[in-house]
């Protein structure tokens, strides 16, 4: 079957011809546009998610979207709206749990309980909805990037513009509040407002990203590129740019490979992200074990010199 497919679409060494082939169909143009915009924001938002140690909360927020999407179908609301509303509710929940715990680190058990309850709710919604929709659940969970309509693209374009504008505006105070909430507060940064605002932005990004990678695989775009970037560099601006670049790379390559093979795009995006993560962490481990032995000696010397 693969061979049969290779007759119709396959890559050549002519990059322009390849791009022309990839973007020949309208559905692929939509797919590339939507995935690019989603990955752009995911890289930035993901950087803060890793920094704030909120990857579990973010993952849960995405999963609450499952109840949002299925509920939207049941009650006849636009899926994106249903997803966003569910995400907002989850954001309120996570924020109040945070304040109740009076600490920066998440209360993982409570977040987990909320997210499981919402999955159960989504399960009920599917049971109550029509048979045709039940078949669609697959798309909510794993995304349907090749089935994005022009209307979807418009929603994604506008939300991306909004998200990027807000994120760039709050980037520095959010970075400060994420690293060091006490000092940030003393500098007049509204730490709590930012912390909730960040979750709202995340809810919006999840709502639009679900069509590309689905609620279960969204982790691959949000967390994995940012985690890799933070291993590689200690400079926040470089790290954000690298996270964005990686998210774009994974989606572009994932789409291309998904197009020429009969396998789903979400699988490739996630797998490329995971493989890169493993390579970087493994490489770092080897580097620290073998080549960088001198680092420990240097460290001991500066510690002594610095304390006199």
């Amino acid at each position: 079957m693969l061979i049969a497919l290779a007759d119709t679409v396959s890559f050549s060494w002519d990059v322009f011809a390849d791009i022309q082939m990839l973007l020949h169909y309208h559905f692929m143009q939509n797919a590339y546009l939507a995935a690019t915009l989603v990955a752009l924001v995911a890289g930035v938002i993901g950087y803060f998610m890793v920094l704030r140690d909120q990857s579990f909360a973010g993952h849960s927020l995405a999963n609450v979207g499952f109840a949002g999407a299925t509920g939207a179908a049941l009650f006849g609301i636009t899926p994106v709206v249903g997803l966003f509303l569910a995400g907002l509710l989850a954001a309120v929940g996570i924020q109040s749990l945070n304040l109740a715990a009076r600490q920066n680190r998440q209360s993982d058990i409570a977040v987990g309980a909320v997210f499981t309850a919402s999955l159960a709710l989504g399960f009920l919604f599917i049971h109550l909805s029509t048979q045709e929709y039940a078949a669609n659940v697959y798309n909510v969970l794993f995304g349907n990037v090749l089935g994005i309509s022009d209307a979807d693209v418009r929603v994604i374009v506008w939300s991306t513009l909004l998200l990027m504008a807000v994120l760039l505006f709050i980037a520095r105070p959010l970075l400060f509040a994420s690293i060091d909430p006490d000092v940030a507060a003393a500098h007049g940064v509204p730490v709590r407002v930012l912390s909730f605002g960040y979750l709202v932005l995340l809810a919006l990004e999840v709502a639009v990203a679900v069509q590309v990678v689905g609620v279960l695989l969204i982790f691959a775009l949000l967390v994995t590129p940012a985690a890799i970037a933070q291993y590689v560099t200690t400079r926040p601006a470089v790290s954000v740019l690298l996270a964005v670049a990686l998210a774009l790379l994974f989606t572009w390559v994932g789409l291309a490979v998904g197009y020429v093979t009969p396998y789903p795009v979400g699988f490739f995006i996630t797998t490329f992200a995971f493989a890169t993560y493993v390579l970087v962490r493994g490489g770092q481990f080897v580097w620290e074990r073998t080549i960088n032995r001198g680092g420990t000696i240097h460290r001991a010397r500066t510690a002594m010199g610095g304390s006199v």
Binding site: A171, L175, D182, V183, A184, A185, H187, R235, A303, S307
Partner: protein, 288 residues
């Protein structure tokens, strides 16, 4: 005795020598409990003050009141001629705690930079304002030099030792060239050698920049050589003066309202014995 020093300062000072911080009959209530009251204090530029006292006495509260983070229930606090307010760039603040988890993979230089413009909205565009960008990185380097952290300023902060992290956090507070430096237990959780190292750095900064330093500590000994005056808080009362004046059997017994004894070892170290020592050492459940 602190009242005499206070009045002599305020009568003999024209505008140029006005105190950088003036606390007038201030009191703070938290959750219906009076933390301290009738606090009078005037801090001059370049002065190094240690805020001492047992746990829960309200040392950090005094610092936060000066920073405008906690409202007063009586009196007032004037900082550089204006009522204390939140987000005052003239105060560099290093709060209690704080060490970074080992997985925080952000360079020390970026952490210091946050102290300069981390609270600003929007993003700077270095290629549009190259001079501003150069100025900013110069200020950051200057603060890093002041605390002697140049050797490790570009390493991830999570991988640094407690003393190295503390120096960078002080640099973060220094980067705005503040006229007041407020440090909440900066020597806590450091070993003795690093305590003296960091205390020395703070003393030197105060001399070089003319900044007034307020340092909360629960052990006076590592900073004894560096401080000009101490503010001793216990049982809601406050005594201010030089260490020789305040850390005495008589003054502390009056503060604690119970007999305590202050012993001075031959090497100059001070040991407080009695009720006070018990309270200083017990980290929880202080009976009131």
């Amino acid at each position: 005795m602190h009242e005499s020093s206070f009045s002599s300062l305020s009568t003999a000072t024209p505008a140029t020598l006005a105190p950088v911080i003036q606390v007038e009959d201030a009191a703070v209530d938290l959750a219906g409990r009076t933390i301290w009251r009738e606090v009078r204090l005037a801090v001059q530029a370049g002065e190094f003050l240690a805020i001492l006292g047992p746990n829960g006495a309200g040392k950090s509260t005094l610092l936060k009141a000066i920073l405008g983070l906690i409202p007063l229930s009586a009196g007032k606090i004037i900082v550089l001629g204006q009522p204390a307010r939140r987000g005052n760039a003239a105060i560099g603040y290093v709060p209690q705690r704080r060490h970074f988890e080992s997985d925080v993979h952000i360079g020390g230089r970026s952490i210091v930079r946050l102290g300069l413009d981390g609270g600003n909205w929007g993003l700077p565009l270095p290629f549009l304002q190259p001079r501003k960008a150069r100025e900013a990185s110069m200020r950051v380097q200057e603060a890093i030099d002041l605390v002697g952290a140049t050797a490790y300023a570009d390493r991830p902060i999570g991988e640094l030792s407690g003393g190295e992290q503390q120096r960078l956090l002080i640099a973060q507070a220094l980067v705005t060239r503040p006229r007041i430096l407020a440090l909440d237990e900066p020597l806590d959780s450091l070993d003795l050698r690093n305590q003296q190292g960091v205390a020395g750095v703070i003393r030197q900064i105060s001399r070089e920049t003319g900044a007034a330093v307020l340092l909360v500590a629960h052990d006076v000994n590592p900073i004894l050589a560096a401080v000009d005056r101490v503010v001793y808080i216990a049982h809601g009362q406050v005594a201010v003066g030089t260490p020789q004046e305040v850390i005495t059997t008589e003054t502390l017994s009056r503060l604690y309202n119970t007999p305590v004894e202050v012993l001075r070892a031959s090497d100059g170290r001070i040991v407080v014995v009695g009720q006070a020592e018990e309270e200083v050492d017990s980290h929880a459940h202080r009976p009131r």
